[in-house]
Structure formats: C-alpha cells, structure tokens
Amino acid sequence: MIEFRKLTVTACGARIIDGLDLILPEKGTAMILGPSGCGKTTLLKSLIREDLEDPDVHVSGSILLRGKEIRDRRFPVHRLRQRVGLVMQHPVPFPGTAFANVTFALRCTTKLDRTAIDARAKKALEEVGLERQHWETPAECLSGGQLKRLSIARTIALEPEVILLDEPSNGLDPLAAARVEQLITTLSQNRLVVVVTHDVSLVQRIGDAVYFLWPYRTGCRLVEEGPAQDVLDNPKEPETRLFVRAAREGASALVHGEELVAGLTYDVPRETCGSGGCEPDGCEPESSEPVRGSTGRKMR
C-alpha cells in the first residue's frame, strides 16, 4: 500500500531519518513504535508532504502510494492529503463550533452541497463518539479527549484511504484513551491506520503489525518489523529488547541493559528540537502559547 524507499529527511542540517525502507500493508493497524526522538512524527509528515510547507525540511528518496510516487511534482498534493489523513499530536481547534470544524475541509475542497456535507459530518462525529450536545459548542471549549476525537472526526469526514495518528492516546485519561483505542480498532477494519506511539501496551492490545524505529545519531532507522505479537514477545534486536523490557519492567530493564548498551553501536537519543527559526517536525511546543508558526515558502 505505502512504500518508503531510502527515505532521508533532514531539517536545519540535522538528519532525522536516514535511508529508511519500509512497506505498510493495505489494511489493519500499523504501529510505528520507538523512543522519543522525533523521527516517527517526521515519517508521518513526510507522507503528507509537509516538506512543501516548510522550506527548512529536505526529503530525498521515494514514497509510493499504491505504486505511485507521491514526491512526483505532478502528484496533486491536496488530493494526497485527502486520501491520506493525518491527525496531529496536538490538534488545534478551528474557531467555531465543533460541527463547523468538521465541515470546514469539506466545504473548502469538495463540490458537495450543504445537506450532503452536514450528513457526512454527522456520520463522522457519531463514529468518533462525540456527544451530540457538544456539536454546537465552540471547539476551543472542548476537553482534551473531546478535542482529540474531534480532530479524528475532521479527518475521517473526508473518507481517506489511510489514516495517520500521531500519539493518539498521549495525554488522555484512561477512559478517553480507551475510547480512542476502540475507534482505532473500528476504523482499521476497512483501511490502513498507521499509529505512531511509544506505548508498548497499546501496541500489544490493538497492533496488527509493528515497525520499531530507533533514533541513531545519523538518523532514524528501521530496526525490526513484523506482526505485533511476535516482535513484542520475541524481540530479536537488542534495541527492541531493551525498549520492550523497559516498558514491561521499568527501571530494572536498565540494569540488564547496561551490558547491552555498552556493546551496542547506537548513541543516546538526541534532542532534535531546536529553538528559534528552525523547528524540526514532530517537536511541537508543549505550551499552547502562540508561537511564531508561519509556514512560509517561496512562490513556485
């Protein structure tokens, strides 16, 4: 379905992804797992061609969607983003009601009439389980969990073939997280849902396939892949083993890991979030303060 060939992404001179080769299946949940190091989010963003919006980001290599190269100049970008929907880690509500948030993209990019748009919005909101009484609430007033679900609704209203979720349960309370998990399971029955996460138990519960990435100093690379159960129960690579162990045992994994660490060729995951003008992807500010965030680019 989606294939990455020798994908290399650099931002502000720092290499984030280094020659990645990866193939994602047609259906089900594909979990991109790995420690914080910002490569996973970059991967998703490269899939929706974020490099077109941010001139500091350079991409080389191939990304194929059903065999067609999406980095080709002639591939329609907006169509791509409707077929491959990214739900961001920190969704920003559009001014207006929750309902208006969902209909916004439909109004902008489709030829549908008002009734059809409203019907699809309704369906999307029901699917994510946002209570009806909140549909007319201003989106800024929604809670974290509701906002997350709203952002998912925004994306699925466009009926994409592929849904990308960046740390969907991060920061949510267990109940809200559980609802999101349920939603992912439902959505993945008919299409590919790619989930970026560092939560091993999430992978355990809902993952079909898992792709373990590790941030090396020279960039992120694919360490191990396979059916979720296999990889988690029998991790082959030392990095994977360390990670899974840390998730399951906590601090004691590091004790065993000392020997592993000593003999491995990786470096400590580095900070890629620079300040000032160059903000490599995935490192979105924690606070919701307005940051100079213009995505300017030269006119083509």
């Binding site: 329609p76 990019t109 073939e161 299409r191």
Partner: protein
C-alpha cells in the same frame, strides 16, 4: 468504505490561487517601495537646485527665495531649537509625572493619569497650536518659546506613555532587592528604576524627537515665521516644516525644487534623530 465516494474539487480546481498570491505579493512589493520612492522623488526633483549657482546658497544664513538664495541654516536651526526646547520641557515633566504615577500615587489616580495621557496623545497637534495661539502668543509674541511649549505639550503624552510602559516592565525582583537592601524610595527610583529603564527612556525620547522635528502646522501657528537666526527665546523663528507649508503653493522653478530639498532635510533630521536614539539606547544596554 474502501473506495471514497466524495467527488473532490481538487482534481479540477484546486482552490489554490496562484494569481492571488502573485497579486498580493505585487501589492506587498509596491507597499515597500512607496516610501523609498517618495525619498527618491524628493531627491531627484530637488537635485535641480544642486547646481553651481544654487548649491553654495544652501549653506548661507539667509532664506530668500526671491533672489534664489536658499540658505537652509536658519531653517535647520529653527527646527533644532524648537524641537530641543520641546524635548527639554517634555522629558522632565513627563518623566516626573510618570514617576509620580508609578511610585507615589494611589492606584485610582494612576488610572486617571493614564486615561488623561491616553486622550492627550490622540489629540491632533492643531489643538495644541490653537491653545498656544490664543493664550500664549498674546503674552510672549509668536516666538521660539511658544513653539517649544506647544511642541512639548504635543510630545509629552506619548513620551509619558512609553516611559510608563518601561517602568511597568521593571522586573519585580529588582525593586524588591532594593527595598531589601534598605534603600530609600528616592534612591530606589534614582539608582535602580531610572538606570534599568534608561535605554527605553532614550528610545522614547527619540520617538518624541522625531515627532517634534516633523511637526508643521501647530508650530506654524505660533512660531512667527521669520527665517533668521533667533536672537533670544522670545524671537520669532521658522522651521523647515513651516517653510514647506507656507511657500509650497506658489513656488516655481528653483524655489520649488529647493522646497523638495527642505522636505528631504526634514526626513534626514528625523532619521538621524531616530538612529541616534537607537544607538544610544543600545549602548546603555551593553554598558
């Protein structure tokens, strides 16, 4: 749900408007070019007077267009002296009042003071000129003094508001440490507050100076309009700006071109004042 059922516009009409961006960009470039264009226009038109006959007259102390003598000296002097007088009055009074509002007065009076300054700062300068004409000119005659006072009244509100903002932004810790060290109020103001805010005060003074240098009609109402070097504070003067306003309508030929140079001189003086202020302010920061 595997095959999408929505017809997308994106295939035929993307909703992206390249023409739109180009148009906006062109407008933006035009917007940037306007003021430099103004300056170039002034220079080009005024350059007619930079020929051998007229150039030396620019440095004389007589402005006598009838004989094609365009001495800028008295005009520049008039501009500088009136603005300097204005600053001399406005800065101490403005600073003093802000010190009062910030350190001595109860909150209600401070709020009143702020509103007062706010309203005053929005008043068109002619109103101050009117006040000066009716109340001060009969006493002192149209003069450098009245012009200075009118300018002071005009720039004081803005200067005071900028200064107040600067004082407001003094880190709390600074003043608290001073109090903890046992400093008296006067010392805290003089040795701490004023020192910490000095760069911004200088910047505020620079902004005010620029405004004063560029003021035309309010000054024209009260300055006396004699293009000569003033021999006392109650002597009439004329500034670059009042010259423009008085002579523009019927000027022809070299006189007309000279007026363009006068305008350019005003811009230059204002620019120098602003740059000096920025330079002095940043010097304070590093020292």
């Amino acid at each position: 749900m595997a095959t999408p059922t929505i017809e997308y516009v994106a295939e035929e009409r993307t909703g992206e408007s390249r023409i739109g961006w180009i148009a906006l960009g062109a407008l933006g470039v035009l917007a940037i070019a306007m003021i430099p264009g103004v300056l170039i226009y002034l220079l080009v038109t005024g350059s007619g007077v930079l020929d051998r006959t007229h150039l030396p007259t620019l440095f004389s102390t007589e402005w006598y267009p009838g004989e094609e003598i365009f001495g800028l000296v008295p005009l520049v002097l008039g501009t500088l002296t009136t603005s300097a007088l204005g600053l001399l009055i406005a800065v101490p009074v403005g600073l003093g009042s802000v010190i009062f509002f910030r350190f001595y007065s109860p909150a209600s009076i401070t709020r009143l003071g702020e509103s007062t300054l706010g309203v005053l700062s929005g008043l068109p300068s002619v109103i101050f000129g009117l006040f000066g004409t009716v109340w001060m000119v009969p006493i002192f005659g149209p003069s450098l003094l009245v012009a200075g006072v009118v300018l002071a009244m005009m720039i004081l509100p803005t200067f005071a508001m900028l200064t107040l903002a600067a004082f407001r932004q003094i880190p709390k810790g600074t003043m608290e440490s001073g109090a903890a060290l046992g400093l008296r109020r006067e010392q805290m103001i003089g040795r701490l507050a004023l020192v910490v805010t000095r760069p911004r005060l200088i910047a505020a003074a620079g902004v005010s100076l620029t405004r004063a240098l560029g003021e035309a009609l309010a000054v024209e109402m009260v300055c006396g309009n004699v293009a000569a070097i003033p021999d006392g504070i109650t002597a009439p003067v004329r500034t670059l700006t009042t010259t423009l306003v008085q002579e523009f309508e019927y000027a022809t030929g070299a006189h007309r071109e000279a007026l363009h140079l006068v305008a350019l001189a005003v811009v230059l003086l204002a620019a120098i004042g602003a740059t000096l202020a920025v330079r002095m302010a940043s010097k304070q920061v590093s020292s």
